[in-house]
């Protein structure tokens, strides 16, 4: 753990995570999947690409937000020690060149995830949407990242595309602080794994 229990109230208050040296040295991706259960299901796997070298997960625990640098192994975690009940999970890739001691707005990221959930729920209602992916691309202007979204459909279809853009427009109106860049990918008989850049994550609850 990077943060001590004494630090947690401060982190919660500010909803900011200070980037520590440990954040940029680890090469394991951790995914917290809660499914609203008492026990977090943890998986770790080697990163697909060395482009990103850490993932920060913010885990809501009643009123506390904890940031995990993923430098620990799941088997060392005991449920008595971590009695939190994660309500959601968040995976965020940071680029290698993120400055040490820079801060990270976890609250905004959590909002971004809520926003994406809303978008994907609507998009998934469209039968022709095969898959959806997202990526956070750091940028040097507020809010510091662009939410990149790829929606895969089999072939061009004006009506479907307009429906997706309608959902996107609604979402943009409700989240003016966010920078969103959605693109529709027409699969055209190709395999999805050959279409989506490795830094993108498949959307799943």
């Amino acid at each position: 753990m990077v943060f001590t229990m004494q630090e947690l109230p401060q982190i919660y208050e500010k909803m900011l995570v200070r980037i520590q040296p440990e954040h940029v040295t680890d090469n394991i991706e951790c995914i917290f999947s809660s499914n609203f259960s008492d026990t977090a299901v943890r998986t770790s796997r080697k990163m697909r690409a060395s482009k990103y070298n850490i993932f920060v997960s913010s885990v809501s625990a009643q009123t506390t937000t904890i940031s995990h640098p993923c430098s620990w192994k799941p088997q060392f975690i005991e449920s008595e020690t971590y009695s939190w009940t994660p309500r959601t999970w968040f995976v965020y890739p940071l680029k290698q060149d993120l400055r040490i001691d820079s801060t990270f707005d976890v609250k905004l990221l959590a909002d971004a995830r809520d926003m994406m959930r809303s978008l994907f729920e609507e998009v998934e209602k469209l039968n022709v949407v095969e898959s959806a992916f997202y990526n956070f691309e750091p940028v040097d202007r507020p809010p510091g990242f662009i939410i990149e979204i790829l929606v895969v459909i089999p072939e061009s279809n004006r009506e479907t595309e307009y429906k997706i853009y309608y959902v996107l427009g609604e979402l943009m109106r409700r989240n003016r602080k966010m920078l969103i860049d959605l693109h529709i990918v027409k699969r055209r008989g190709r395999e999805i794994k050959n279409l989506i850049p490795t830094e993108f994550q498949r959307w799943r609850e």
């Binding site: 202007r141 662009i146 061009s156 004006r158 595309e161 307009y162 853009y165 309608y166 996107l168 427009g169 609604e170 943009m172 109106r173 003016r176 966010m178 920078l179 969103i180 860049d181 959605l182 693109h183 529709i184 990918v185 027409k186 055209r188 190709r190």
Partner: protein
């Protein structure tokens, strides 16, 4: 270094109409051969029409994401049409050959999406 052009509304309209002219007088003759450039020029025509509107409000955008967000708010009537042009032009410029729009898609966006944007904006700026 990022170049920051601040064109007036009239200057944006000039660019928009020049792109339209090149599109309809020249590029459409080759739509089967280069549908991707048809969509790119169609998009940049739409972009300058939209920017002509925003320039009247003293709004100038350096990035697509901010512009798209503003269109979703203040020009929501044409958001879908504009975004389709934007999306197709991104595929044209950065995607593989298979991501390129087909000639049918290019013609469809020129016949349907671009006119929606142009007609709407011309109701506000002349």
């Amino acid at each position: 270094m990022t170049l920051k052009f601040r064109l007036s509304s009239i200057e944006h309209l000039e660019k928009a109409r020049r792109n339209q002219e090149i599109l309809f007088n020249h590029l459409l003759n080759f739509v089967e051969k280069c549908p991707e450039w048809v969509t790119v020029v169609a998009f940049y025509s739409a972009l300058h029409f939209v920017d002509a509107y925003f320039a009247k409000l003293n709004l100038h955008f350096q990035h697509h994401q901010e512009r798209n967000s503003e269109i979703s708010e203040s020009l929501k009537e044409i958001f879908g049409a504009y975004y389709r042009l934007y999306d197709l032009s991104v595929n044209s410029r950065y995607g593989s050959m298979k991501d390129n729009p087909t000639a049918d898609e290019a013609m469809d966006t020129v016949r349907n999406d671009l006119p929606k944007v142009v007609e709407f904006i011309q109701g506000f700026v002349h």
